[in-house]
Amino acid sequence: MSKIESINDFVVRFANVNGSGSASANNLFAKAIFRAGVPVSPKNIFPSNIQGLPTWYEVRVNEQGFLGRRGGVDLTVAVNGQTLYKDYRDLLPGGYFIYDSSKDLPDDFHRDDITVIGIPFTQLCNDEFKNPKLRQLLKNIIYVGSLAYLLDLDFSILTDSITKQFQKKPKLAEPNIKALELGYDYAKEHYADACKLSIRKSDKVGNGILMDGNSAIGLGAVYAGATVTGWYPITPSTSVIEAFERFSKKFRVEEETDRNKVAIVQAEDELAAIGIVIGASWNGARAFTATSGPGISLMAELLGLAYFAEIPTVLVDVQRSGPSTGMPTRTQQSDVLACAYASHGDTKNVLLFPCDPKECFEFGADAFDLAERLQTPIIIMSDLDLGMNDHLSPALEWDDKRRYDRGKVLSAEDLDNLKEKWGRYLDVDGDGICYRTYPGTHPTKGAYFTRGTSHNEYSAYTEESSIYLAGMERLLVKWDTAKGLVPGPRVKLRDPQNKVGVLFYGTTTHATYEAIARFSKKGLEINSLRVRAFPFQKEVIDFINDHKTIFVIEQNRDAQLRTLLMTEDSVSPTKLQSILNYDGLPITANFITDKIDNLLAAEAQLGLEGKGGKA
């Protein structure tokens, strides 16, 4: 049997029971690899339940920094009886299966194409530690120790991490380090070079950080000066607000008074949450909320109000697997249409698609400038994978010279200096954006009556067709203005001659780049465009026009972004071929590679049949 051999490029999977405290041990492991300077990204695959069900932690290690999911598992740490067989079965040939040998493997476990490594974690743990609570936690630490040996992971990094972690209570560090040693020693004793996977120190991590997308968005909102949030708990968006609260506690307390320079209101539901955001934004504060699918559906009516009454609104949608309650702890990119065209009537919303924590932070801040500049809802389209998992990301940066763009707002002075009569919905600049005033600005000028009913340029109610039409058409002018303001796409023209390109967005990015690199190896340079916002700019359309076929890669069933490309920019459907993964798990490089292979073959076929010109 040939064992899988690899340095700094493999996949480790931990199979645990949720609520059993495995998280800290698993994080310790991933963090250690990161600290060894080797690019790494862990993904939690957890159940919609609090305790007792299977949960997996998949760690991708890749020297070149391809940190999307690859597909397949090289080494499994299987400590969950419920899924033992599945974990055993799913391991790649040549892989390594580590299990708790305190209990024998059932007889029907007889694969001969893998290396089985039994370590009596429970036994080692119970022999050493008495406190039952501690036992549960330390059992997990022991397998990290074993892995350190098996993967040649610098042991000191682990011990340093532990000491750092328990700075405040060093007494707790001891048993943890002891546990690491137990695992390390046992492995060394019984499985000397059984494993051909190893971590070699590197410098590929640079000044990168390991961070989850939700924290980055919450932090971005703090930096952007958000002061009001109404929110309602829902997985996987809750931690966006938790992060906002955490960082506010740190940065938003008035020294003198101990009072908060922020208002965080846990609302009674999502309708109230978005209502609070709209009310606060209308009143001149920067406000936002975060939710997931079901919340998006409930916010539809009020999003339509914000679109039509033109009220800045920042909303974060951390997408999960729909429809309905679906799989609350699985990822997807399936709210694209629901967000782009939220609410009844003719409505369109601006969408931002971050792909890593750094972009989460940036978009988390930019969204407020955009919302106030465009006076319309801006929806940040994150997802469970990006939001709740730690990702290797470039360090965050903030330009201290940056000033908030509060958009077109008239001060008392402005009002006094106005020559002509001011109208809330009067487009004086021709960009479709009108000047607003905050309540209380001026004793006699600038007051107006905001309404979701149709209004004339001075915001009075009207049923006059021509006036209604003019307003609706102005909103389209504003839509065009938006194209010039939202973040542009990331285009990579690897081979101008190649008429095949791929288009993708958000968390699909990383696995796609790995797939592209594989084709490069084979000598095929595929051009790519990463969409970062909707509406789409000219670059996006040009890229599509410059190619004969575009593979649109998405993590939903109905090719939702493809729909937007056709609807908004009249791109021919036949030109856009979909690659869709929507099983709830982050898309893998293997999946994308296969699909592209097949589609290219089909293309070639067509080419031969001379139907090349069909697009």
């Binding site: 908060n260 922020v262 109230a272 009310g279 009143n283 406000a287 905050y438 049923e463």
Partner: protein
Amino acid sequence: MSFDRPTFRHPNQTKNKAGFTRQDYEGAISTLCAGCGHDSATAGIIQACFELGVEPHRVAKMSGIGCSSKTPAYFLSRSHGFNSVHGRMPSIATGANMANRDLLYIGVSGDGDTASIGMGQFAHALRRNLNLNYICMNNGCYGLTKGQDSATADKGSAGKKGVPNPYSSIDLCELAIELGASYVARGFSGDKKQLVPLIKGAFAHSGLAFIDIISPCVTFNNTSSSTKSYEYVREHIEATNTFDFVPLQQEILAEYEEGSSQEVTMHDGSKIHLHKSDSTKDVTDRLTSVNNLETEKAKGRLLTGLLYVNPDIMETHDIINSTHRPLNSLTEQDLCPGNAALQKINEGLR
């Protein structure tokens, strides 16, 4: 459609202490039905604001959807207004209030807007004790959609269609007290004398002041068989007590004979003097207040006036301990931690 009021009306008017005329508190001309109770309620709001001498532009008017929710267009045209969507006024008002605690907020809603689709937001604005003057113009029906029974329609009451309502009604005042409202009153659009001080007291109150104004719908629910008709209300109305509202500034001038009245000091220092009489009810105890309402109901009477008040209670901003400065007035300096802090955070993530 909303028409601007011709400004040549009332050439010279007396000014209030803030230097405004009554006209300065008016709005566009009402497009409601002639005789609609909501117009009288609107007049009451205008009168109260005028007498209090609030600065019009320091008031924000919020509303939902309905004939009642249209009224903010008909008063205080110098104030910003927000006619939002059906049943969501409380959340919009919450956001607005969080953004700027220095303005006065008046939220106008209807019985449909509040007791049906808005029930959840109504309950939770109460629970948070939002600093809002919440006025429900209650006509027991859905006026704007042509008169269907609302959840406040009394059992057996019949509107224009003539079909008696089979469901028992929700008493918004009892409910507000149950849910922790700190100022609860009931007025009648037909009794301006009683209504105006109730609204003034509400403005002086810090926290959620709820006023249920029985405001007949002359087009769909003013029949002889309706318990929300002008006639029925006039014949069945009772009052907890009569009272004067005495703004802080005038306190010194006001004189009250010892024992003749009960004095309640509002958050802003203003005082409410409840005139004592045999029929006077205690309005400072929650359960007693609910009892008062129920006993009168049992007698087939409709209790109005100030029903319950508890001036010493924390409003939302106090509860969440937010800065006394309006949040919408904070700038980069106040809000942005800057790059140095960010680099520290990066460090923590390595």
